[in-house]
Symmetry: C2
Subunit: 343 residues, 2 copies
DNA sequence: AATAGTCTTGCAAATGTTTTCATAAAATAT
DNA sequence: ATATTTTATGAAAACATTTGCAAGACTATT
């Protein structure tokens, strides 16, 4: 009755194998340091006892926790789906486990989540974008763990970042519509208050339109959250008017999808009557009917690269160097944009 | 130079506050046991030093890790998006952190993930469905931690489960099409080898069709993964023939969406020429044009209930009681099904 | 057969908390 | 005022592991 819990620990395995706990530990962490024969005995003892090692104990010893945190605005949405999957796959493949959290586009909540993940001693932390609370930035600085802002590239960021130039994405989208000859262009974006990605896209797009001499009609600057249903309803309202735009520049593909459905519902031909362009190229955007013209964000590559960077930063004990990596975004011309209707 | 790491720990906080480590610990975990004045001093010291407590240390002490594991087949897809979000929200709100993993519909990988999460000493573990490796079941049994199979209800499951009766879903979908008068019905499902949800739906649907006297044409039993693009291509092939079905029963909404796009592309009227029914009612299905008729799975409620059950099981030290909860699934008649075309 | 070198292993200290037990101080009752 | 109960705190053991150090066991070299 000396053991209160029946769960086998390293010393019970050691006893079973007839060696010391230290040797078992070494067999697990530095197999090359222990004699093949002993290793065999230990393997057998582990198998026999059903031992599962306790990461918490090694974490506490100062070893890494083998966990990496990822905080995204939302999960219940296709926006970050590919990113999360790719990030998780890469991280997992290198022996780490993902701690995932979502804050619903609220930076105060985000700070609380950061603290929570730090309590769990994640070895590294990834966030989306560069809009974060002052307190978030401070605690990240203080803790000095590898941190990375994903999704938005900014040449003057204060923490490492890896993503696309969202302003460029907005510019490309706007230019594409202008190039096709559109002069009646509406934009649909979410609230850009705490969302630097949307803000960059939006202001660059507006600037491009303005530079082309387009007045900025307030009623053609729609705001709606990243939600297909709400985007569809907002678009229905916008498009119902006879004085409607000939093109819609959407903050991302989720909105674009909603806009497309609205057009379909109203019997508008896309792209004959109305051009629609999205940003993101999310899963499924290529399969829409008609297939969506959009600006591709290489989400899988970004996710994998982010994971690789963080894992490397954890492995190399050295001070993790600041990186700022820009992935190219690219116009994917599919079938929802064309020259504006005559008349 | 006595401290090698500069990170403040509980004793440095204690020193700073002029109390013992035990008191700091108490102030954190049982605030009512420490004098308000001392609490104040401690709070200040914590603030000042930027102390973040170490969950690993409490985990190792036998306290709970405050983490819950969730293993899903896939993240890069809308299928489990709402479930994961709801689960995470509920778990998070109760002070737990989510450890997420995905296995890509491979049960061997799943077993490895289960082990990994157990190494991290998750307090509870949730899996999707009831198809799992023998080894997975064994280790779950041995470890005796609260475990839960989500998504599929089975009255004779060997572990707790919480979800819908997938056979019922398949039956409802098939009955709906029969009721409308369809006699030429094709089914599109993924590989059902290691996927009990799909298997239950499919076999119940087939049985219902057979009971109605419909022969099971092999070329009308399509197999394609849960992927809009592949489903669209498979449907294009199926629907291009003049000898085509009048209705498509799809394994889930992702497939249904692909089928719908295929029909649109071929210029088929939905539901005039072709009826399509999905299963799941995923985010966005209601917004499709035309809106998708489907069998609703209450993903948010399931996710929240699953989380609540596991948290409760963790909190109550008692042996966690087996539960088997069945959520109702429900036919949502939207606009993609109708009576078959005459002629 | 002796010496030097290389492997392999065990001991013990260390990691950051929590909690039991004991004690001191304060509050209450007599 | 004293005796008793309550409240607040500290000391130390416990949790499961890793690792530096030292010593014992081989192997290779002469």
């Amino acid at each position: 009755m000396k053991k209160q819990s029946d769960k086998p620990d390293i010393v019970s395995v050691a006893r079973l194998a007839g060696v010391s706990a230290a040797t078992v530990s070494r067999a697990l962490n530095h197999p090359d340091l222990v004699h093949p024969a002993t290793r065999k005995k230990i393997d057998l003892a582990i198998r026999k006892s059903g031992y599962i090692r306790n990461r918490a104990a090694q974490t506490i010893h100062g070893r890494r926790s083998a966990t990496i945190g990822l905080i995204v605005p939302t999960i219940a949405n296709v926006i970050f789906a590919e990113l999360v999957q790719a990030f998780n796959d890469a991280v997992s493949q290198q022996g780490f486990t993902l701690l995932l959290a979502s804050h619903g586009y609220d930076l105060a909540t985000e700070y609380a989540l950061v603290r929570k993940l730090l309590e769990h001693r994640v070895d590294a932390l990834a966030l989306i974008g560069l809009d974060h609370g002052e307190d978030t930035y401070r605690v990240l600085r203080e803790q000095g763990l590898p941190a990375l802002a994903i999704w938005n590239y900014d040449p003057v960021s204060t923490i490492s970042c890896l993503g696309i130039d969202n302003a460029e994405a907005g510019r490309i989208a706007a230019s594409h519509l202008l190039m096709l000859g559109h002069r009646r262009i509406a934009t649909i974006f979410p609230d850009t208050g705490e969302n630097d990605r949307a803000r960059s896209r939006r202001s660059a797009a507006q600037a491009t339109l303005k530079a082309a001499g387009l007045g900025d009609r307030a009623d053609w600057q729609i705001q709606t959250p990243y939600n297909t249903g709400q985007a569809k309803r907002a678009s229905l309202e916008l498009l119902a008017s006879v004085d409607r735009p000939t093109a819609l520049l959407c903050g991302n593909d989720v909105i674009a999808q909603g806009a497309l459905y609205a057009a379909l519902k109203l019997g508008l031909k896309v792209p004959g009557d109305l051009s629609i362009i999205g940003i993101g190229d999310f899963v499924g955007s290529a399969e829409l009917e008609p297939p969506l013209t959009t600006i591709r964000i290489p989400a899988r590559r970004i996710g994998a690269a982010a994971a690789d960077h963080l894992v490397a930063a954890v492995d190399s004990e050295s001070e993790d160097a600041m990186i700022r990596t820009c992935f190219e975004c690219e116009l994917i011309m599919r079938a929802t944009t064309a020259t504006p209707p005559v008349g």
